[in-house]
């Protein structure tokens, strides 16, 4: 079976400068795959390109069997591809409920949307308590919950997560990762970008390591966790 997402020699440039220099990566249906790497490696750029926020060659990205490189973001969401952006990107002046409603913007079936809203509130009871509060006044962790809940409101087949643990206290990080695992269990395919390499590898099936625009290592997450190079560079351990 062909993978749900396949990057083939993907290159992304800002102006003349290449931030992603020809990477191959694939994610099969139902997998949780992580992409780790140092600051500035090009992880966010990769996710933005997949989500349709940056111009790339059409054939460089295949999703659900079709080339989608350069397709605009709003069309991809309608095809089941959702990105939770780095820094969360909640609409600070909209309420929690309005943010969630925007996640389901393109969906027509009001009854199903209502059901999903109830599910999002089940998943994040804190959001339910704060549904009328403007999102800008939420704590960082709550905003991350909202960003994930909002993306789920589009009923994605493929969920791209960009550093969901960024800036959160350990307890909140744990809660977010539990949620990610729960979402994956429901059958949503996930590509997870993380600074917290250990945690990411612990929850993932497979992992990719990115350095200055190139994939330098990849394999089953269990193997990467014990790989000496990964341990030294990303897990903060000497051999």
């Amino acid at each position: 079976m062909s993978p749900l997402l396949a990057l083939a020699r993907l290159e992304v440039a800002y102006g003349g400068i290449k931030a992603v220099k020809g990477i191959d990566l694939d994610v099969s249906k139902g997998e949780l795959v992580c992409l780790i790497g140092a600051n500035g490696a090009g992880k966010t750029t990769t996710l933005k390109a997949i989500a349709g926020l940056l111009p790339v060659a059409a054939e460089a990205i295949r999703y659900d069997g079709a080339p989608i490189g350069g397709t605009r973001a709003f069309e991809l969401v309608r095809r089941g591809l959702a990105l939770v952006p780095e820094g969360r990107g909640v609409f600070g002046q909209l309420t929690v409920a309005e943010n969630l409603a925007m996640g389901a913007y393109a969906r027509g079936n009001a009854a199903a949307v209502k059901q999903d809203l109830a599910r999002a509130f089940d998943l994040f009871p804190r959001l339910a308590e704060r549904r009328g509060q403007s999102a800008g006044t939420l704590s960082g962790g709550e905003q991350q919950m909202l960003a994930i809940g909002r993306a789920l409101m589009s009923r994605p087949k493929l969920l791209l997560l960009d550093e969901p643990s960024m800036g959160l206290a350990p307890l909140m990080v744990q809660k977010i990762f539990e949620t990610i695992l729960a979402v994956a269990k429901e059958g949503v395919t996930i590509l997870l970008v993380e600074q917290n390499a250990r945690l990411a590898l612990e929850v993932s099936c497979r992992g990719y390591v990115m350095e200055t625009g190139l994939i330098t290592l990849s394999g089953p997450a269990r193997e990467l966790l014990v790989d000496p190079k990964v341990r030294a560079a990303y897990l903060g351990e000497a051999d």
């Binding site: 989500a51 349709g52 709003f74 969401v77 990107g89 909209l94 913007y105």
Partner: protein
């Protein structure tokens, strides 16, 4: 007759027109941070179209209210189309350009529209046929005419309708989302091009009705009427806090009242050195004062709040 109360009535009338026009400026600014200087000309085109329709129907047996309504019915779609075309042809290609480019384009469009109007409707002021009966009522010493009541009511209805749309409908929420963060709005499945076009169209529709209102109120339309009216409405939007809907409404009403009171009292206050013909100055005095003392406007957020 009570001058104060009378000027308040006049100010409310004028102010509600300013408010409706100011909404057009503020909506577009809120969503793409563009000051659409051609918006005043959209209002003018609305008045002109209504003039043609009302003149054509004035001789018929139709009741006056229906004739004015027909004028609105014609002006609104014409202006909506104009607003859409403007965005599509002139502003969208400049979306990523430095901010000065669309601003200059806006000024260019307003000049083009004035000259198109000049070609179609001549350079002379056009007198609206006097079909509206001059019914008037006495309220506590001030006279309020039927036209004034109609203008205030129509404006209030439009402002209420717009507020409901922006705060209560999915489309309205999408407009606010787009104004806060267009990129993330795209990630929600919102086609921001459509939202932006829609914003222009709604603003133009409001402008069209405003044009018909001023035209019939003063009984006159002129190809250059949009520039002063537009500048005043823009001042009102800045006064309220540009980008803020409630601010545009408040700013418009306040500006109308300031202007009317100034016109009513300036002669007395200056021993008739200045007359009420100086009333236009006040809008700009207010604009300058706001820019100096409270650049974010009465209800505006501090710059930087908008992400």
């Amino acid at each position: 007759m009570d001058i104060f109360l009378q000027q308040i009535v006049n100010g409310l009338t004028l102010g509600s027109v300013y408010a409706v026009v100011a909404l057009g400026y503020t909506m577009v600014y809120g969503i793409i941070q563009l000051i659409n200087f051609a918006h005043g000309e959209v209002v003018m085109i609305g008045a002109m179209v209504a003039f043609s329709v009302i003149t054509a129907l004035a001789g018929t047996a139709l009741p006056p209210v229906l004739i004015v309504f027909a004028g609105i019915l014609a002006a609104v779609p014409v202006c909506m189309l104009l607003g859409y075309a403007m965005e599509r042809i002139a502003y969208r290609p400049l979306r990523g350009a430095p901010r000065l480019a669309p601003l200059i384009t806006a000024i260019g469009i307003s000049i083009i529209l004035q000259h198109v109007a000049l070609l179609i409707w001549s350079r002379n002021p056009l007198a609206f046929p006097q079909i509206i009966p001059l019914a008037s009522f006495d309220v506590g010493g001030a006279i309020i005419t039927g036209a004034q009541i109609a203008i205030i009511l129509t404006s209030v209805l439009m402002m209420g309708g717009l507020t409901l749309m922006v705060y209560r409908t999915k489309l309205g929420i999408a407009m606010r989302a787009t104004s806060q963060n267009p990129q993330v709005a795209g990630l929600m499945g919102i086609d921001i091009d459509r939202i932006i076009a829609f914003t222009f169209i709604v603003g133009a529709a409001l402008g069209a009705v405003a044009g018909v209102m001023v035209g019939t109120y003063y009984g006159i339309a002129h190809y250059s009427m949009g520039s002063l009216l537009g500048l005043k409405a823009f001042s009102a939007a800045v006064l309220g806090g540009i980008g803020n809907l409630a601010g545009a409404m408040l700013g418009g009403i306040l500006l109308g009242i300031v202007e009317a009171l100034a016109a009513g009292y300036i002669g007395d206050l200056t021993n008739n050195v200045f007359g009420s013909n100086y009333q236009d100055v006040f809008a700009f005095l207010v604009l300058i004062a706001v820019l100096v003392f409270r650049p974010s406007g009465l209800l505006g957020e501090r710059v930087g709040d908008r992400a």
